[in-house]
Each structure stands twice: as C-alpha cells, then as structure tokens.
Amino acid sequence: MKKLIYVLLALVTIVTLPSCEKFLSVDPPYAQDAENFFQTPEDFDRALTGAYDLLQSSFISLWIGEIASDNAIAGGESVNDSKGLHDIDNMTHGGVNVELRNVFRWNYTGITRANYILENQDNIDFAGKAHILAEAKFLRAYYYFELVKFFGDVPLIIDKRIGIEEARNIARSPKAEVYAQIEADLIAAAAVLNPVAAQKGRATRGAAKSLLGKVYLYQNKFTEAAAILEEVIASGQYSLYQDYSTLFSVAAEGNPETIFDIEYTGLEGGSYGCLICLEGNAAVGFQGIRQYTGPVYGDGNSYNLPTAELYAAFSPIDPRRAATVLDIEAFIAAQPNPASITYAIGAGGHTGYYNNKYIKRQGEIGLPDNDLTSPVNYRVLRYADVLLMAAEANYQIGNASRATQLVNQIRQRAGIPGASVNNIEKVYLERRLELSGEGLRFFDLVRTGQAAQYIPGFVTGKHELFPIPQVEIDLAGGNWTQNPGY
C-alpha cells in the first residue's frame, strides 16, 4: 500500500513538473532582445550605427583591389601571411580563400544589418525616419555593389533576415537584378538624404549620386552615369583639395574633395584576433614599413607593396608619384642621418616601394595595437574620382571636349600640364595615376576589359570575377554553380 502511494507520488511529481514552466522562463537580465526592438527613434538610430559598422571592413577591398591588379604585390611576413592575398596576387586563387570569404561574409553582414532596419521600418513613425531608412538603403547598396563587383551573381535578400534553412534554398540572383536593386536603393536614398551631412561620416545626397554614377559606369551605362555625375559636379558642393601630397592625412579629413569617407579613429585599442572589430583603419598599419625605425613614418607589416611598374607609370615630373609610392631607399638617402634609419624586409615579398597614401605615419597613431588602429579615413568617394568617372562617361557618349576639361582639372591640381583627351586610354591612364593605391585598379581594369593586358596570369573569361568561396556554396545547400573557370 505504502509503495503504491510513493509510486503515485512519483507520477504526480513528474506529471506536474511542466506547470513549473514559468520557473524556467528566465529572461536575460537587462538585455535587449532582437525581436522586440525598434520601439523608439533612438532604437532605429542605434541599429543604423550598427549597419555603418561594416564599412570599416574596407581594408580588405582596398588590398584586393590593388594586389589583384598590376599595382601591387601582397607582401607581408611570409608567403603564408594572409595566404589568400598571395594567391590573388599570383592569380592562383580558388574556392578556398580566407580573404575572399571575409569579403563575402562581411558584406552580407552589412546587408543583414541594413535589412534588419528596413524589415522593421513600419514599427513606429517619427520625424527623421525617412532619413534613417535612406541611409540604410545607401549602405545596403554599397555592400551589394561590393559583392557584385567581386562575385557577379549573388543572392538578393531584401528587407528581411534569413535562417539556416532558408539559406540552404536560396539561389544566386542574376547580376542585372542585383544592379537593379542597387540603383533603386541609391535613387531612393538620393531623394531623401541631406546634401550636407548632419554629422561627419553620414551618407549624403552627393554620396548616393556619386555611388550611383559609379554603379552605372560599371554597367557601361554611360549616359546615365554622365547625367548623374554631372549633377554632382553641378551641385557646386565639392572641389579639389589643393595639396595632393597631404590629401590622405588625418589633418585633411573633411576637405571639400570628400564625398564619402569610411570613418576611423585611433581612440579604441584593438588586436589581431578580430580585425573586423577594430575602429581604426587596419590597412594603414599593415601597409607600413616593416620594423621601421626613423623619421616621418611608423612601423608596419609591409603589406600591399606597390610594384616598380606602377612607379614607372608616373612621369618623373608628376608630384603624384611621390605622393602615391614611397621609394624607401631614396627616402632614406635623403634624410639627414640615413645610417640611423633601419627597416626589415618581409619574406612575403619586397619591391622597395610602399603605399604612400595609406601608410603609418608618426603623428597618426592609435591606441595599442597601433599597427591596427590608424585614425586615417578611407576616401571611398572623392571628387577627383567623380570628375574622372564623368570624363570617362562623357568621352564614351562622344563628348570628348567635356572629358578633356574634366581630366585637366585633375592634372592641374596635380601640378602637371594639361592634355587633350583624344583616346579613352588617356582617361584610363589618368585614373591610374590619380587613384592608384586606393583599391580601384583591379576593378577598373576588369570593367574596361584591360585586365588580361596588364595582369600577368589573368585568364579572360575567368578572373573577371572572384570565385564564390566553396564553403559558402556548400553552406547554401550546394546548389550554386561556381563562377566560370574555377
């Protein structure tokens, strides 16, 4: 009898336990949940800051844009130091490449964060919401443009987040659809964004239009490109900064040539463990001179080293040569006490040249690890680029005189004699001379069909696009076809 009671007691206990469900619903103390956010304007604003954050991964695009081209080699401590960059340098890159995977991951993270805002855009209404949504669209367009430049067709996810199951069943959208979305986002953003940023670092109308111009140019939509870029020029808001040699310094940030900068600061320390977490510009320290002791410059990791070929592309009288490429031996020889200056050569390669636009300089340091925390902004869209894009678009639609006029603004600022643009090659060359070291060269060569001509090992029909990281194909259910040739 007694036993029976206990057995009953047991059953009762086990059966009634689920009523203790409440005991187990523990909410995280003082933490915000993703599903009940976007209750106040501040919530939108803070989520937008999160979406901007991924812009700071730009160092990877800067490197690949240079290293993949004829402008630079990978460099570094050894050929295994960021091996993915060395593979790209040698045009031997394949579906397994850490750096390319980072590009794929980071840009989709940026897209997800922008989509998270747009997914919740109808939650509440408030003054200023339209501007926040416009900024989110600008950012989404920026990230998609990066992806489409690197990989061509990519899955298009709009205004939502997706889960693991959904990710396994999603297809790559044709490049044209991705471009259409980018254009739509930029047009929508340009209609709302302030002409002048309320805060330094925020996207503006000029930024959206300039980016749209670039997007058109990449699709060879020269008429549209010329039109929108002329609008930027006509706004009168921007002008060329006079001193090209200091254009890339912290001191020159926010000058009238700036259309859109990716903002960095040295105010937060960082470590190699998480480059994406940095608030400083990692490219700058990485591109510094290895174990350098001496004046002007700081120490760095000898990444992304300009080639002799780039150096030779400049006329000796072009001041942009010294501003773009640092000839280390010549520099040392010109110093008062050359023997006291030392530096090391990394086993990842050495050319004798360093990227003099983005390089660690004394006076532009950040909190430890100083190699990673440069405050130097990445000039993503500057007026010189707009002028040269406009020149190119105009030339292509038959307006060579306008092209000449625009190119000569650039040459004049640089301090070299003007020239007549009677050949598209001249615009291309001017682009190289003006914009080298800024991560544009490879993509310019590809979109203008010159890559095979300039890049050793470049295979036409293959290397125009980078391979989708194989693991991303697998994780997405294995249904995507790899880009041709890989």
Binding site: T13, E21, F23, S78, I162
Partner: protein
C-alpha cells in the same frame, strides 16, 4: 504543561536508572581485541551511551531478564544482545565484510560495490592526497581507467582537462563535478584542497544518467572528510615543502651556431649575410634566465572526532606554489577552511552540515600562445644579451614580434583572487530502517576579483607590446576631440564577478529485503537549481607615476574620464528536475536497475525545454550460482547498462537573438555606440544526447587480485554546435557569432581494464599494486549539413588551419601535407613524377594525395590526416610497498600514440631555432630529413608532418619514500602516529617529443595538441611530515 510532563518523565527515567541493577561488560572483535567507544543503546528506553576506550561498559538496567542492548560501531555489524539475566557480558561484534564496507556514492544515495550495475571507479582521498598536487584534477591523472586527464598549463593553478570516456562533443567536454553536492567547474577546482577529499567516485556509464541533462560527459562525485562517531578528538598535521625546477630545457642554437645558420639562410634567400663575425661563443641562454627554481609548500591541520550523536571534522589548509617561470608573477596560493558536522538531532532526524571556505590567489603570465613568455624565450636571439647596460633590457630589434622575455615578465601584473563559500545543510529523516527522507540545501557563493596593471613599457622600436612611445617611457597621446589631446598613460583593468548557486533537493530512499531473497531499493526525488552571476569591470588610463602602487581605477588621472571604459554582464539560469531509481536484486545474484530523470532547463527555448533521460542496467553475480565451482575465482560479476543522458553546456539564452553584437561607428570623429544582433536565434535549440552502452566484468582472484573491465559504446547526437553558417545569415560582423544549433554526431568506443593487487594483510611486506589501461576510439560520425569540416587552430602566424573536426576522423585531427624526404638535386625535381611548384634542392618533398600529378598549394586537395592529440592508449600504474614502518609508493602515467604540433617556432628570419636545424640540408646527400634554411619564399614552412611530432610519454608522476615511527615510541610522547617522507613529482618523463612538456592540452578540443611553448609542469622534490595526536 507539556514541558513539565517531559521533565517529569526524564526525571523518572533517571530515578529508575538509579534504582536499577548494574550490568557491565566488554566489547571485543573477532580477534578478541577491544573495540573502543562502541555506541550501546538500551532498547527499553532507547537511551544510548558509550563504552570506553578499552571496550568496557557499565550500565544500570531495571529488568535484567528482558532487557536488550544494541551495539553499534563503525565497520562492524550492528548487533542486538539480550541480557538474559547476566550481570557481565562479553560481546563479540562481527566485522563488516570488505564488500559491505565498500560503499559507492551513486547520486542521491549509495550502493554497495557488490550491488552495482554501472561502471564506476572510486579513488580514495589518501590516494589523491599522496600525489602532493595543487589540484584534484591533476591528482586524478592515471588513477582510474576511462578517465583521461591532460594538462592545460603547468603554471601554478593551471587547470587540467578531465575527459571521461573520450571527447564526445565539439564544445564543453567537462564532466559534472559535484563536491558535497555542489557543482564545481574546471576553473573553480582551484578552490578545492585535495587534502580535504575523503573519496572520489567517477560515474562513467549511463548510470550517471541520474543527473540527466548534465550527465553526458560523466559525473565526478567528491566527498569531503568527515569525522566518526565515538572518537576522541584527534589533531592531525600534514604538510610538505618542496623545490621545483623545470624538467627540461630545449636544445636551442648557441650564438655561434645561430650566426652560422642565419648567414646561410639569408644567403639562400638572396640577402646579405647578417653576421660578418660568427665567432660569438654560446651567447645568451635565455632559458637559464627565464627558468628558476621555485618553492612549493602545503600545510594542513585538521581536527576530527565524534561523540555519541555527533561527528565533526574541521580542517585548515595553506598552500603556495611559485612558478618555475616568473616566480611570484606566476604564483598560486590558497587558504582553506572546512567544517563537516553531523548530528542526530533526534533518533530519526539527522543533520549533515558542510561548510567550505576558500580564498585563492593566482597571478599569471602570458602563456601557451603566440607572444607568451616561453614563446619569446624560445625565439629570442642568443647573440643579444639580457641587459645592454644595468637596468636596460636588450631590445632584439631585428624582429618586432619577439620581445625580451625577461622584460616581459618584469612588466606583467596580472592576478585574480577568488573567495568562495560552499556549503550543504542536509536533513535526513528516517521513518524506519527501510525508508528515509532527505532534504538538502546546497549553496555556493564565489567572488572573483581580477586586476591587470599595464604600465608604460618600451620593449624596443616597433615592438607589438609597446605601451610607451619611446625608451623614456613617454605616454602616447590620444586625440579625444578635434585637436584635444590627452596622455593615455599606464592603465589598469579591474573586474569583480560574483556567482551564486542555490540547490534544493528532496528525495526518498527505500531499501528493503524480504526473506533474504528479494531486495528492493528505490529513490525518488526532485531538485531545483538556480545559478546567478554578475560582473562589473572597468579599465582606467592615466595611472600616476607609471606605478603599481596606484594600480586602481580610483587613481586614474584621465581628464573627464575620457578613455576610461566600464562594462558589465549578468546571467541567470535554472534547472528543475525529478528523478527516480528502482533497483531489484534476487538472492544477491540477479540485479536490475532503472533510472528515469526529467530535466527542465532555462538554457533552452520553450520548444524543447524538457528532456526525459532513462537508463536501464543489470548485473549477474555468476560466482553466487551453484554451478559456479571455481576455487581460484572468489567473485565474478557480469554487468550491463544502457541509457540516455544529456549535455547542456552552452551559454545562457543561446536560443534567442540578443542585441549583444558590436555596432560601433565613428561619427564626428567620436566613437558612437549602436546595436547589432550578436547571435541569431534558434528557438528549437535543445541539449545534446548521449546514448551509452556498457558491458563489464568484475572478478576477484584468490582474494588478492581484483580485475575490472568494461567495454563501452558511447554515441553523442545533436551536438551543441556553433558551426559555420552561410554568410547570408549576416552573423559574421563584429561581436557576431553563428547561432548555436544541434547538429553532428560523435562516437566513442573503447575498453577499460583495471587490476588491483593487495597482498595478504598478514604479510610482513605489504604490497599494493594498481594498473589501469584505457583505449578509446574516437570518431566524428557526422558534421552539420553543408559543412565540410569545422576549422580549428591555425599553424604558425596567420597560417593555414591545421586542425579540424571532420566526418570520419578523430575530433581535432591534424590536417596538412605529408612529406617524403628532401629534394637532393634539381635533376630529382625535374624528373619527379609529381610537379611541385617552386621546389628547389633542399626543399621538402610533398606527397601528391589526390594523384593529379602536382602538388596543389592553393587548395586542400593534397593535404591529409597527420594524426591527432587523442592518445591511442592511456595507462596508470601505482605501487605501494610497506615494510617495518618504511613505505615506498609511486604513480606512473603513460599516454601513447598522440601527436603534437610544434608551433612555437616563429617563422621569422632572425628568430632563434632548435638545434635540430644544424642537421639541415646543405647539399646533395646531406640529409633527407631536415630541409634547407632560407629567408626567401619557400613552401617548407607550410603545415606538414615535418611539424608534427610523436607526443607519447611515460611519466613517473609521484615517487614517495616514507618512514612511520613505531607507535611504541610515540605513545610516550602522546603522539598517535608520525610519518616523515620525501617525495618527487615528475621525476622522470620518457618521451621523444622535443618541446617542454608532452602533457599538453587545451579545453578547446580543436587546439589540444598545438604547442605554443607550453608552460611545463615542474619537477619537484619535497619533504613532508604527517603527525597525528
């Protein structure tokens, strides 16, 4: 009124006694020796009293004819003796048989070894204490089969990994450790004094399932020492003092060898030779400067005893160990206080109370990683002195990534203290001899403070670790707003965390035997568990005078609090459980047992919060059968068990998406905090499930040899995993992580073997031998869909992933190129069947795994399995001899068949190297083993089996020689026992591994065999004293 009545009753009993008749007697054992302090109860009035130390007793009894006395003493069978009119009694108590005394704690109850149906191993406290180890986990290494213990760090207070029956999951493989019912995690074991341990029971198979969702990695039940009833107070001191040294220094290049080798490497790389003069002698031996001998000491004082109704044991302990690297910069110290108190509050109600207090402090150096002190020591150049002038450290300017290790140690100020209260209040109500009801309340409060002081230091131009901007220790300036600069200065980081665990458990135990045939045992109960933790931390800049004296946040001088940074976190988790266990034994011959546990955990989402964990087990004592007629085999049991248990070791709230990612951008040149999702949600998240089958045999041969063997199959499914997910989920931003999901399966199969020999107690030479052997076959059965493998540790700096979690292989196996010697000539390269791009004479020959006729360096197709950190076999051997008061004991541990990745060599032109490079390739025919050295581009530094070494080792962990002074001598000075001893830990290690210490592991299963210059376990020589009054 009632009180008066009770008083009256009590008085009347006294009166009755006074007028009773005297009865006296003696209590003896079977060898007619007196048993001291036996508890005797007069049955008629239920009044207990004690016999004296010589077994003599005297009592007044009213009814000599019908009275019955009940005798009870520890280790003896309880006996009821009718007085039957006698006035003098001689009572002989039967000693309990060994198998009755052998009680194993199995969770919410105990079991006699004979009745066990599960696979458990027991370690006695004395076997743990004897090891003279800092932590319980270290002392457990090699003690029992099926339990593999490997060291994470040999630094004082460094933890070990306890793996019960292999690695069963990608994530947390730590077993559930319960000390007097309180959960201790691996970190928390620092608080436990090994000398306080009475016994350790390891539940290895599915019968651990009584702990349900937390049992999948096995359960270790630790009980602390308690007193004994009827014992006079005894005071015991147990202490030792020892000196530790490193057991090994690496064979590095001397300055002259270094110069010659580097010249050659630079020449091969097409660069100028750096050393015009190679005649540099031996140069600096950095290891001699870094390693020092360091003291270790332990002192324990305990008081224990008991009265009629009460037992107590009080302990005080002090332990301190300095590091063989860094001395007091890598120090561990601990104070312990313990109170175990048990009392019979009434005949039926018992109280067991435990209170453990500990205060420990640990200081640490950067260890086991790139940039750790030993990593820098190995790579430091022998041609640079430690000091360039008195007080000025050398800078080793040629390499920015290597800093002067002595300077590094000097400038480390990194310590943490933990104060911990652990306790238990347990009330047991015994309805009758068959049924008891236990209610207990456990608590664990821990307060952990840590502090890191980071002074302004200059290690030399361009060094990664510099915090100052020049040798004058000037502070860097930071622009906090447009053209507003402030000095950063020295910094201090402080963190204070508190943790509180509360457990309430209530259960019934039933135990009854009918007619000596049917025995039924049952356990039924509930458990409620809550854990809370919170932390506040801050970093402050501008500590005055660059001085440790002001290393406190309050001392910061950063204007306006700029740069100073605070942070906090908080969590709460709960577990609600019901459990039952039913056991049935027929004639002590056939045993069956069933366990059922239901767990509800706040760690999982509403979709799968509750889990049910059943286990069934059985045993058959063949030696009890009539047909069993072996004369040599005294005992033979066959056991079998199968059951399901879970693992819930994931972070809290992993099932929901929180805005704990990092969304920070710079607007108006100021850092602006935004929000971002940290980890995407997974509302279906549940525990991982382990199904384990065990079959075992226990056998006793000629009463002196005990064998136990188990074979097990352990399959873990639905691994709690954070595998890579598609980039499209957007979880790879700053502060972002992939969601935790259930995916992947792992299997462990293995067998365990234990044999123990104990010589006959009558022998003059007492011999105890224990040997155990474990072999485990670990395999990843599946990985999450779409994932080819989970990448683990990287080789070298920024190098390729060298370890993997991949289907069909061991967890964390090594993946790289296989080599086949060295190319001797260009001709050999040209004629090779396989094209190896970039190969030059003297380069390693890689093996073409996919047979496409070339070595593919841009993908993984020519890489293969190069071994793993999981040993094929582990063995433990312990011996103990006693003769005429002398004793000699030792403990040997062997782990065989595991590999280690040599990852402490910085691939930098100027980094020092191990002396094996002297045998490098220098020309055709010079060697087919070591490649040429060059500073130029080479594939020789890619991860290959050239960097994988055999990590097998056999280690004499403890050797002890002691002398116990005869009691005849001691009695005169009122000492009960006195033993002095000398001991040595890690005296001998046999291994072919080149690094500091082959006993090398990591709590992360994928980094387990990667050696970054492991902080080695010390070799120590100790002398000790045990004295008891």
């Amino acid at each position: 009124m009632i009180r008066k009545l009770v008083m009256a009753l009590l008085c009347s009993i006294g009166v009755l006694q006074v007028y009773g008749q005297n009865l006296s007697g003696t209590v003896l054992n079977e060898r007619s020796e007196a048993i001291p302090y036996v508890k005797i109860t007069v049955k008629s009035n239920n009044k207990p009293f004690l016999a004296d130390g010589k077994g003599f007793f005297q009592v007044s009894v009213t009814d000599l004819t019908n009275e019955v006395l009940i005798f009870s003493a520890m280790g003896y069978q309880k006996q009821e003796v009718p007085v039957a009119g006698k006035t003098n009694l001689t009572v002989v108590l039967q000693e309990l048989s060994q198998d009755t005394k052998d009680v194993v704690v199995v969770g919410y109850g105990t079991s006699k070894t004979k009745e066990l149906t599960g696979a458990t191993s027991k370690v006695k406290g004395e076997d743990i204490e004897k090891m003279n180890m800092t932590r319980m986990d270290q002392a457990l290494q090699g003690q029992v089969s099926g339990v593999t213990v490997s060291s994470n760090s040999g630094s004082p207070g460094g933890s070990s990994n306890i793996r019960i029956r292999g690695l069963s999951t990608f994530g947390d493989n730590d077993p559930l450790i319960l000390v007097d019912g309180v959960v201790y995690d691996s970190e928390g074991l620092n608080a436990l004094n090994p000398s306080d341990i009475k016994s350790i029971n390891v539940l290895k198979d599915a019968t651990a399932g009584i702990y349900g969702v937390r049992a999948a990695n096995g359960v270790i039940i630790v009980e602390t020492k308690n007193g004994a009833i009827n014992r006079k107070p005894s005071i015991e001191y147990n202490g030792y003092y020892g000196i530790q040294q490193t057991a090994r220094k690496l064979d590095l290049l001397t300055a002259e060898e270094y110069a010659v080798i580097k010249n050659e490497a630079f020449a091969f790389g097409g660069q100028a030779m750096p050393f015009a003069n190679t005649n540099l002698g031996t140069g600096t031996n950095w290891q001699d400067s870094v390693f020092s001998s360091a003291p270790v000491q332990s002192h324990n004082l305990s008081l224990s005893g008991g009265t009629l109704n009460t037992r107590y044991s009080i302990g005080l302990g002090y332990f301190n160990q300095e590091g063989i690297v860094g001395a007091d910069k890598a120090n561990f110290g601990r104070y312990n206080a313990r109170l175990n108190f048990s009392t019979d509050m009434s005949e039926k109600l018992k109280l067991n109370s435990v209170l453990l207090f500990s205060s420990d402090m640990r200081s640490t150096l950067p260890e086991n990683g790139i940039g750790s002190v030993l990593y820098n020591t190995i790579n430091a150049f022998p041609n640079d002195p430690v000091y360039t002038s008195p007080g000025t450290f050398s800078y080793m300017e040629e390499v920015s990534d290597i800093i002067n290790p002595i300077a590094q140690m000097m400038n480390q100020y990194n310590w943490s203290t933990a104060n911990k209260f652990v306790g238990k209040e347990e009330f047991i109500y015994e309805f009758n001899e068959n049924l008891s009801f236990t209610n207990r309340f456990n608590y664990n409060y821990a307060n952990v403070d840590s502090k890191v002081f980071s002074p302004l230091v200059w290690y030399g131009e361009g060094k990664y670790a510099n915090t100052a901007i020049n040798a004058d220790l000037e502070s860097p300036e930071v622009e906090i707003a447009d053209s507003v600069f402030i000095e950063r200065g020295a910094a201090v980081y402080e963190e204070r965390s508190t943790f509180l665990d509360l457990t309430y458990e209530s259960f019934l135990n039933y135990d009854k035997t009918w007619n000596d045939i049917h025995k039924v045992k049952g356990t039924l109960g509930v458990s409620v568990f809550e854990r809370k933790g919170q932390s506040l931390n801050g970093i402050a800049f501008g500590i005055p005078n660059n001085s440790l004296d002001y290393a406190d946040i309050s001392a910061n001088t950063a204007q306006g609090g700029f740069l100073n940074n605070v942070n906090s976190w908080e969590f709460k988790e709960r577990l609600l459980s019901a459990f039952m266990r039913a056991e049935y034994a027929y004639k002590e011959k056939y045993l069956v047992s069933g366990i059922l546990r239901r767990d509800g955990s706040s760690k999982f989402g509403p979709n799968s919060r509750w889990g049910l964990f059943p286990t069934i087990s059985g045993g058959w004592l063949l030696s009890e059968e009539d047909f069993f007629k072996s004369k040599s085999i005294d005992y033979l049991k066959l056991r079998m068990s199968y059951g399901v248990s879970g693992n819930d070791q994931i972070p809290n709230f992993a099932y929901r998406a929180l805005l704990n990612g990092e969304g920070v951008y710079v607007f108006d040149d100021l850092i602006t905090q935004g929000v971002a999702i940290g980890r995407p949600a997974n509302p279906d998240l549940k525990w991982e499930t382990t199904r384990q089958f065990n079959v075992g045999i226990d056998l006793t041969w000629l009463k002196v040899l005990n064998f136990t063997t188990n074979y097990f199959i352990k399959n873990t499914n639905d691994l709690l995993f954070q595998p890579d997910v598609s980039a499209l989920l957007g979880s790879y931003g700053p502060g972002g992580y992939p969601p935790i999901i259930n995916a992947g399966d792992v299997s462990n199969k293995g067998w365990e073997f234990e044999v123990a020999y104990q010589s006959d107690r009558k022998n003059l030479l007492q011999t105890n031998l224990n040997f155990n052997f474990t072999t485990i076959n670990n395999k990843v059965v599946s990985v999450p869909a779409g994932v080819q493998y989970i990448p683990g540790a990287a080789f070298s700096v920024g190098g390729d992933v060298a370890t993997r979690f991949q289907e069909g292989y061991e967890i964390g196996y090594f993946f790289g190129y296989q080599t086949a010697g060295v190319f001797q000539t260009q001709e050999e390269i040209d004629n090779a069947a396989v094209v190896q791009e970039g190969a030059q004479p003297g380069d390693l020959i890689f093996v073409d795994q996919n047979g496409d006729g070339k070595i593919n360096f841009s993908d993984d197709s020519d890489k293969t399995n190069l071994g793993s950190a999981i040993p094929d076999f582990t063995m433990g051997f312990a011996f103990n001899f006693k003769l005429h008061g002398f004793d000699l004991s030792g403990n040997v541990y062997a782990a065989l068949g595991q590999e280690i990745i040599r990852n402490y060599e910085r691939q930098q032109p100027y980094a020092n190297q191990l002396a094996y490079v002297i045998d490098r390739w220098t020309g055709p025919g010079s060697t087919n083993e070591h490649p040429r050295l060059t500073t130029g581009p080479t594939n020789n530094n890619l991860f290959s089996d050239y960097f994988v070494e055999d990590g097998s080792f056999v280690r004499l962990r403890n050797l002890q020689f002691g002398y116990t002074v005869p009691s005849t001598v001691l009695r005169k000075i009122h000492v009960e026992s006195l033993r002095i001893y000398v001991a040595a830990n890690n005296l001998i290690t046999l291994t072919r591994y080149m690094g500091f210490d082959p006993d090398l592991s990591s709590s992360n299963a994928l980094s387990a065999g990667v050696d970054y210059g492991m902080y080695p376990q010390a070799r120590s020589l100790m002398s000790g004293l045990q004295i008891k009054f």
